[in-house]
Symmetry: C2
Subunit: 181 residues, 2 copies
């Protein structure tokens, strides 16, 4: 009886880490806001662009499934089945009592970067981009800039750990942080 009760608590906890596929399409993860948050950037852009002139650029919020986070704390590396979620959310200013700076608005696009050696044997990692209301997404093609930029500039494996404060310290300690450009 106690075992049943405890499992009833545990099962939802364990289920938070899953992503689901239908054929080659990934279903939009619906519980990533309860995963471990890694960091948020504001108005970040990796090349020259119009972002600099946008007075209300988006926030970039990054989450990872808890199992992968705990493995990274121990090893400085991502285990298989790591799921990183990038939430790109609108920003706003001068709402309520806020006089300066920006807080987070409504409406968010989601991009998923997933490691799965069995499903993606060639590159081990794949990217899935979900529009604001998209429930399903196809994997990004292997020649997209997602891959080239992450492979060239990822500080750990193909991920941008250089922008995640806690994990960049861990990777430095474990000797897994690559110099990047």
């Amino acid at each position: 009886m106690r075992v049943v009760y405890v499992l009833w608590i545990l099962i939802p906890v364990m289920a938070t880490a899953q992503v689901r596929y239908t054929g080659s399409n990934m279903t939009r993860p619906d519980n990533y806001r309860e995963w471990v948050w890694l960091s948020s950037g504001f108005g970040m852009a990796y090349g020259p662009g119009t972002q600099a002139e946008n007075p209300d650029p988006p926030f970039d919020n990054v989450f990872v499934n808890p199992e992968a986070y705990h493995a990274f704390l121990k090893t400085g590396a991502w285990p298989d089945r790591t799921v990183l979620v990038l939430e790109i959310r609108s920003s706003q200013q001068k709402g309520s009592i806020n006089q300066h700076g920006h807080f987070q608005g409504d409406g968010a696009r989601v991009e998923v970067h997933v490691k799965d050696a069995q499903r993606f044997p060639e590159k081990r990692w794949a990217f899935f981009m979900f529009g604001e209301s998209a429930k399903s997404a196809a994997p990004a093609a292997a020649d997209t800039t997602c891959f080239t930029c992450h492979e060239k500039s990822g500080a750990v494996d193909t991920t941008f750990v250089q922008f995640y404060p806690i994990l960049r310290d861990i990777a430095r300690q474990k000797g897994t942080l690559k110099p990047v450009n």
Copy 2:
């Protein structure tokens, strides 16, 4: 035997929600980065000030213990023993491949807003401010601006739910979101 094994998994999960006190001082919470993240602001300021002229203002990252988060999703209100952690973290730009905007740096101050009717019978909530390396903090006095501003402008109870996207939607649905100024 199975019960023991399952409890061995559960206990660390349950322990993440605790804050500890020594006398009236709170011990700095050390695991809040694994709690549920609510939102991050950039350069936010509630009054006229010098923040507007700072080219690298801080990020404000807000976390809550998972039990309180799940209760809020159901009710739109904070249960007793809610612990909100505000992490005020430095920002930087033009690091690695980043050309525009800001990402999060090292060094963080922590402020805790805790609801505990038994420990704080007068106001039910208390504030504790931790400097960058402080391991312990005394409760803020009841006449500080923490209390006056949160009591006047908190959208739910004395908390700034107006700045947390998911929870402000929940509070709107549950009818617990106060109009604020």
